[in-house]
Symmetry: C2
Subunit: 128 residues, 2 copies
């Protein structure tokens, strides 16, 4: 099993190691992947700007890498991180704060209700 960069950039799914929330998806080339491992912070390759970027370098919202997983065919990464702040450039904790309704509309979620899961309820009960 090796990571396969032959098809081009590899998507990296970034997950909050504490909450299990999917925070964002960004792309890595081999250099970004190497820098992520070397520095313990996430580095990506911007498709629009066509250059490397270190998540948090401008915002301060660095992501400290906790674990890296590779999928069965070696062309997707799952990276669990300890986020130092919101993942999204909008200031939202996660980039996935729009939801498709049953009516086919796309609505913006309130920060507090985004990705509420059974685990949130369990944790709330445990903490009470």
């Amino acid at each position: 099993m090796n990571l396969d960069f032959s098809k081009g950039l590899i998507p990296a799914v970034i997950v909050d190691d504490h909450t299990n929330d999917v925070l964002m998806v960004a792309y890595m080339n081999e250099v970004a992947y190497r820098k992520t491992i070397e520095t313990g912070q996430t580095w990506f390759y911007s498709r629009s700007r066509q250059k490397l970027w270190n998540k948090g370098a401008s915002s301060g919202n660095y992501q400290t890498v906790k674990n890296i997983y590779i999928d069965c065919d070696g062309d997707t990464l799952l990276i669990r991180v300890d986020p130092q702040g919101p993942a999204c450039h909008t200031g939202n904790k996660t980039c996935f704060f729009h939801q498709l309704t049953r009516d086919g509309d796309i609505i913006q979620l309130e920060e507090s209700t985004a990705h509420t899961s059974v685990f949130d309820n369990v944790m709330a009960e445990v903490e009470e």
Copy 2:
């Protein structure tokens, strides 16, 4: 906010609605997205076979869609599903069953230890 297929295929991160595990990442074109919404099951576009596929059509491991989220720039999907069986063609629950060690090796995880999280422990305690 609209889903933007202008850059090509859109990656869809598939998450188990019960466990919060990231199961797989696959790609959708607009037809696959529409069929996913219409049928309530996941449909993807295979980059290698260059055709639509309905997850579970050959294996029986369909994924029932629970919720669909769209990221801030409309070019990535997060789909929470109720999986009817393993997501991975290898028979693993999730496609992300390889982990990068601190020594730089890629090791295969045992099914039972893959993606163990604090939530797994909490749930185990709650169920006991």
